[in-house]
């Protein structure tokens, strides 16, 4: 009887052991209240115009044991662009730039994640203005906290530079006045899904 019990327990442990990686991957939903998608772009080569997107959503999965099983995805609402100037924001929403009625979202979906010092190196497809291109960036962070009590969360940050022309954002007429490089800063906290 004892032998049978032991072998049953052993089988369960073996099954559980195999199933562990699936359990170990933690899935998080991005918490917009503690996240931000900011950008800056040169204005006629003199200064920087700072802006942000106010509406976005996303999820990510973290497997502490196997970075290859981590994944990140995010969707940004282009209509929510905000540079603290209503007239400029409306112009940025027009087909001269983002054409938000045609391309309402900027989306990112990871295709590969590697563990690096202090975080991950994430590769994925970024779709903006109807153009999809692969991008790679370093994601720093990964500390965990229970806040508020009973809610597990973690957070990451990244900075990357994109070229406007790679995604066809901004008609040629504005090429001289606005910088080609767009500096992007994304920081997000995720709340673990139960």
């Amino acid at each position: 009887m004892n032998r049978r019990l032991f072998s049953l327990a052993g089988a369960f442990l073996l099954w559980a052991g195999n199933a562990m990686p699936a359990w170990a991957a933690e899935t998080y939903g991005i918490d917009p209240a503690h996240s931000g998608v900011h950008f800056k772009i040169s204005h006629i080569g003199l200064s920087w115009i700072h802006g942000r997107f106010n509406n976005y959503a996303g999820t990510f999965s973290i497997d502490p044991d196997d970075a290859g099983k981590c994944s990140f995805e995010m969707k940004i609402n282009t209509e929510s662009i905000d540079t603290n100037n209503n007239m400029r924001d409306n112009h940025l929403r027009s087909p001269d730039f983002f054409n938000v009625k045609q391309f309402p979202a900027i989306s990112f979906e990871s295709t590969g994640v590697k563990a690096v010092k202090d975080g991950y190196e994430v590769t994925g497809n970024l779709t903006m203005h109807g153009v999809t291109k692969p991008v790679t960036f370093a994601l720093a962070g990964g500390k965990k906290a229970e806040f508020p009590k009973g809610v597990q969360r973690t957070g990451y940050s990244t900075e990357l530079i994109l070229k406007r022309s790679d995604f066809g954002v901004g008609k040629a007429q504005f090429a001289s006045a606005l910088g080609e490089d767009v500096h992007i800063e994304i920081s997000f906290e995720g709340v673990q899904k139960k």
Binding site: M87, D96, P104, K171
Partner: protein
């Protein structure tokens, strides 16, 4: 931003877009004259084809002059306008020109005293076919321009579609009916003595559209209206040299659909208000007012002139409203009287 500054900026925009309109007009006029040779007795079919092709090519050259480069495959409103809608209108009007020539030929062949009814019946059927094609263009114009947008598509995710299917069909039907009504009215007007002024009326509305769309935050879309206006004026001017008023009959389709499409783009993709879009689109209709029966006794030249003046009024009102809106939205300069940069300033920076 003061009124003087706005006028100054309007003139600056005009001076930038003027050459594109001029080039379009020149190309269009030369082509029209080439199609209309010999000018004293142009072949009707060639002259009618010239009325379509000359404006189409003049417009294309004007766009090239402005450095407007649509992308293929068409993804955005401008791409769909330039690659799908306007070529479709040109194709329909070429077909309509051929149909019109066939109609004229048939009517000449049938002895008028013998069977007038037969000739008019045939004419009705043949011109009915041309209008059926135009109806299809009118019905397809808005769906083509709004294809894949958040108004009609929920591809971006649940709840992202702005219009219900019912609303979509109602809006499409209403806009198609408006386009067809204006098209029909101007087609009637163009057949009146000096009715060619209808084209000038549409060109004036296009000129206003260019400036107002730019003021409404669509800096790359507004300028498209200038080569269109230039192309129409070029064909119209050349048509005066030809002894065949019907040579510009098929020019109207391209002008009206082009104007309509630009206003749809301005409103649905940018900040062009419904009021301004309606003022600009219906402005040419006022050119038909002096052709109403009570005014028929007045000299045709005077009637045409009054029609043009009447067209200009709503265009100027729309411009004033756009200026007012722009002035209200412009941020107040932080450094005293320093004027804020305009879209034109941005577009010309470094040039």
């Amino acid at each position: 931003m003061s009124f003087d500054e706005l006028i100054k900026q309007g003139l600056e925009v005009g001076s930038q877009l003027g050459p594109a309109a001029g080039v379009a007009a020149l190309v269009s006029a030369l082509l029209m004259l080439a199609f209309g040779w010999p000018w004293r007795a142009p072949r009707p079919i060639r002259a009618r084809l010239g009325g379509v092709v000359s404006v189409g090519l003049g417009f294309a050259v004007g766009c090239w002059w402005l450095d407007i480069r649509p992308s293929w495959p068409p993804q955005e409103d401008q791409d769909r306008l330039l690659f799908i809608l306007l070529p479709a209108v040109i194709a329909v009007e070429i077909l309509a020109a051929l149909i019109g020539a066939r109609l004229a030929h048939l009517q000449r062949q049938i002895p008028s005293s013998k069977s007038e009814d037969r000739a008019s019946n045939m004419g009705f059927r043949v011109s009915g076919l041309a209008w059926l094609l135009r109806f299809l263009v009118a019905a397809a114009a808005t769906p083509i321009l709004l294809y894949g947008t958040t108004y009609v598509s929920g591809d971006a995710g649940p709840g992202t579609r702005q219009w219900t299917p019912q609303q979509t069909w109602m809006i499409f039907a209403g806009l198609a009916a408006s386009l067809l009504a204006v098209w029909l009215l101007l087609a009637w007007l163009i057949q009146q003595p000096l009715g060619r002024a209808a084209l000038l009326a549409v060109a004036i509305a296009c000129g206003g559209t260019a400036v107002i769309m730019m003021m409404s935050g669509y800096a790359s879309g507004g300028p498209l209206a200038m080569p269109l206006a230039g192309g129409v004026v070029g064909a119209l001017a050349a048509s005066l040299a030809l002894r065949n008023a019907s040579c510009v009959a098929n020019t109207l389709g391209l002008a009206v659909v082009g104007l309509f499409a630009l206003l749809i783009m301005g409103h649905f993709f940018s900040e062009l208000t419904w009021t301004n879009a309606a003022l600009l689109f219906f402005a040419p209709v006022l050119a038909a007012f002096p052709e109403l029966p009570p005014f028929r006794r007045i000299n045709p030249k005077l009637r045409a002139g009054v029609g043009i003046v009447l067209t200009t009024v709503p265009v100027l009102i729309a411009m004033a409203l756009a200026m007012q809106k722009m002035a209200e939205q412009s941020p107040r300069p932080s450094s005293g009287d320093t004027p804020e940069p305009t879209l034109d300033d941005y577009m010309n920076f470094g040039k």
